[in-house]
Symmetry: C2
């Protein structure tokens, strides 16, 4: 609910985005920083606050935008920070103001949404707290925030060229996993690291790659906020000897449940509670490993430090081993345990429209692409929000993209016809209609390969109605959870499986819905939803000074 | 003279600019290419032709522009392709049309003029021939074109961050010199290369780094067009056993004179004639070496191949050794031998305004900068052409930059006060006035260092009236050459010296005048001249869809 009281606080930020030398994993590279920091500054606000960010592009030749991941931007679709969809990229030297209300408590983050700038390090945390005097539906004594990401030594510019090359040059697995922008490459926090060529890191504590230690007092409850902005990696986190109680997912409360370890996909956030009920004279490893892809990246580590025990006292118990990368049953079991907190709003019992989206890996003229219903998304230079609002038909493909895929499609085998086409059409949603989306996974180009894809929806939360194996059929509908499905903004499809979700198109705007794996989106894995754009009002005109909208604003072709 | 006949040819080009993997010096890196080529396609036109280039930006997140170096853009200042001055950068996915007349025969080139994109490989050759039926003032039987550049293995993105860092991270000397985009790193065309770790290159001929051999017939005259678009290196070219007759400089005829070797600075072009009057059973080395900086880059080599002698027959005489890097007397002697071809237009005898520009290396808050009269140029986001045309006073500093520098300034020592300030003011020139500029060199920040700077003027040629040692004084004026000074668009200042030039401000527009060394410009070494902008008409409005001009075109702040 958007709080409209004039007493509400406006939180002002002045941010400069720039490239800078940094050593996220002890190896120096160029990262995208904000105000000289990597990751960017953490925003903390209260429900109902207005966030006002004057974002200045201090890059030399690149445009920039920032997406506020998980914030629905109710009534402010132009502040969604998605290049080609909600606004033109901000030019070097220019400032754009993001101004929006945070209407729901939870753990969010922000990140670049242009090219592969997220992967380049343009991200940070956004925490929305319940208003003073109100309470979360759980108690905690202290709080930590772990923003998880993955990191490559190759520059994003080179990665981009590789992904757009023929033959494809895949980016490979990340060199390092980062916790709050910190990881260790070529050294380990562990004294006897498996890889004998790796030595124990020696830190004074001021290094950019020195881990942030989580300092706790015994017999307290801590909230650990987890968010993943990885470019590629699906992650699993475990804390030695400590169970975690999951209480929040993507800014929505869930029915608390206890786990030994937790899967988190790119684009997701969670809050877990931990009780510091272990031997207070010891410290414990926090370990984060790769899921869903054959891991070629060492786990990220940091330490849960029981005060007054010295932080430098190494845990006596080995770091928890995260589940095997391909133990999908473990992942499914976790995922299917997530339910909305009792008393949460339930979804409409029926839908007005159902769209099935087949996820395939394809080829176009020898280039490798990802496609949805055989269309690989290419972003046009004019933002959809402007093209649609002003009826600029050449702004994007006017043909509606397919609602479904051939029922004969064999999802268990490589595509019989691997060729696809590019497209920029949109799914136009009628205002306030209930939309079901069936995300259907399939076999990739290679035999016996089907990857995990975490799909993220802008502008809305959705209910996750269910997951299933193989091809979705009408009969699967009977198994939908309409009683207490969790509200999310990101949901995964498992290999060879489907995921069903439902949302109400109640937020006018143009919205991305896409695989949150950065190179997959770069290769076309997304769609654009347009919801009652005619109702959108008050777009700042400087959001649209590019492409056809710029041309439209210009009265004359030549200036006399 | 601009040919206005409607019979004149319009030459259409459709260019896509993109990054691509390429091995200019046998080591693969990312280069900026046009239509899949590096260097970009060569344009050949005739005097009076209209060049029409539809330039599409296929980069992922970077803007782009192309400057047509040496083309004065008479009446078309918006086609000069200089970001922040003549136009907004072209956004990714968008197309901008450069349309201009080539009004003067000569050897030109084009290159990126945004960030360090020129250094990234965005360049190519532009040759303007005399109209059919007319003749150059010299005869030749065949023609070659050598576009010279320097190449780094570090990406331009990383170079840029280094130049803007505190402490400065200097880009260092280039790894390789390129001839038409081809050089050799870690191997040499020479069988017994000085560096014993280097082996002889083995080429099949199809490699991207295989040299272009110049195939000639005996007893003919060849025109060799030379142009340098180096980011840093001053070069010298020599051809074994062959003298060169200099006949053209920067698209202007010069009084022919003969040299054994020729200095060429970044931004310059020359035509030389060679007579193939040597033993036709042999081949000869063409050698290009570094001048003016302690060379840390091997010479570029290729072969003058007398047909029917096999191209694979190595020359028996060693490659010519270019003069010592610091033999400035040699350079000055060459430079002072350049005179306009007899009968050329002479400069006005007097000037209306004289501007002295002191070149200094300075510090701002610990960052290293170059400054002109103690102002280090920072480019604003709104193009000057638009800001000035529309009186947008916040578009740039309204204070006029200094016309001179303190007479007490000691050019022989490091600056007594090394601090400087940034600025974006312009020198406003009255229409059709005659302007003298005295470029004054000085000692850099370190003791006993004064560098060479090749200054390039957009929109005009200028007469080079003279060069001198030490600080320019009023008495030096008596030594000016007003009889047959060469017309150029680029001129060098020697260490601790001055250079005087004169031009008529007869081309309304906003024009850069800057050191053509890419990192020096990046560090602020340039000024902006505004000439009768009120007379400029017909600016394509899509040249100005950024910054304050975009805001001005937008009638409302918010779209209802």
């Amino acid at each position: 609910m958007v709080v409209k009281s004039t007493a509400v606080k406006v939180r002002h930020y002045k941010w400069d985005v720039e490239y800078m030398f940094w050593a996220p994993d002890c190896e120096e590279r160029v990262v995208m920083g904000i105000n000289g920091q990597f990751p960017g500054p953490t925003i903390r606000a209260e429900v109902g606050d207005t966030i006002h960010v004057d974002l200045t592009n201090k890059l030399s030749t690149e445009g920039v935008v920032i997406h506020w991941h998980g914030i629905r931007q109710l009534g402010t679709p132009w502040a969604d920070g998605t290049a080609s969809i909600s606004q033109c990229p901000i030019n070097p030297g220019e400032t754009f103001t993001y101004r929006f209300v945070v209407d729901k408590a939870g753990t969010y983050f922000y990140h670049g949404h242009y090219g592969m700038q997220r992967s380049g390090g343009l991200y940070g945390t956004l925490i929305v707290e319940v208003p003073k005097g109100q309470h979360e539906p759980f108690h905690y004594d202290g709080e930590f925030n772990l923003l998880l990401s993955d990191w490559w030594h190759e520059s994003i510019h080179e990665q981009e060229v590789g992904l757009s090359s023929k033959p494809l040059r895949w980016i490979g697995e990340p060199q390092t996993l980062l916790i709050n922008g910190r990881g260790q490459y070529n050294c380990s926090l562990l004294p006897n690291f498996g890889n004998s060529s790796s030595t124990q890191c020696k830190f004074s504590g001021t290094e950019q790659c020195a881990p942030q230690i989580l300092q706790v007092l015994p017999n307290k409850t801590y909230r650990v906020r987890l968010a993943s902005t990885t470019a590629l990696a699906s992650l699993n986190i475990a804390i030695g000897n400590h169970k975690m109680i999951v209480v929040e997912a993507d800014g929505n409360y869930v029915q608390p449940f206890t786990v030994d370890d937790l899967d988190i996909y790119s684009g997701e956030s969670y809050s877990v509670l931990i009780n510091t009920n272990q031997n207070p004279n010891k410290n414990y490893w926090i370990s984060i490993g790769v899921r869903g892809r054959r891991p070629n990246t060492p786990p990220a580590l940091t330490i849960l430090n029981y005060k007054p025990t010295s932080a430098s006292k190494l845990p006596t118990i080995s770091p928890p081993i995260t589940p095997a990368w391909n133990d999908y049953n473990h992942s499914k079991s976790f995922t299917k345990n997530i339910f909305a907190l009792m008393g949460s709003h339930t979804p409409p019992a029926t839908y007005d429209r159902r769209i099935a989206l087949l996820n395939t890996q394809n080829r176009i003229d020898g280039f490798i692409k990802w496609a949805i219903n055989n269309v690989s998304l290419v972003f046009p230079p004019t933002p959809y929000l402007g093209s649609i609002k002003f009826g600029l038909k050449s702004g994007f493909d006017q043909t509606n993209p397919p609602e479904n895929f051939p029922s004969s499609y064999d999802i268990m085998s490589p595509p019989a016809n691997p060729n696809t086409t590019t497209g920029s059409g949109v799914y136009r949603l009628r205002y306030n209609t209930t939309v079901d989306i069936i995300l259907q996974n399939a076999n990739a180009l290679g035999a016996n390969v089907s990857e995990i894809h975490p799909w993220h929806l802008h502008g809305h939360d959705f209910w996750v109605l269910g997951y299933g194996e193989g091809k979705f059929t009408k009969d699967d509908e009977a198994k939908f959870n309409l009683k207490n499905p969790p509200l999310r903004n990101t949901v995964v499809i498992f290999p060879y499986g489907w995921t069903a979700l439902r949302f109400v198109a109640d937020n006018p705007g143009a919205w991305a819905f896409h695989c949150h794996i950065e190179p997959h989106l770069h290769m076309g894995m997304g769609v654009v939803l347009a919801s009652a754009v005619e109702r959108v009002q008050g777009i700042p005109s400087n959001a649209l000074t590019c492409g056809l909208t710029a041309k439209m604003f210009l009265k004359k072709k030549n200036i006399p």
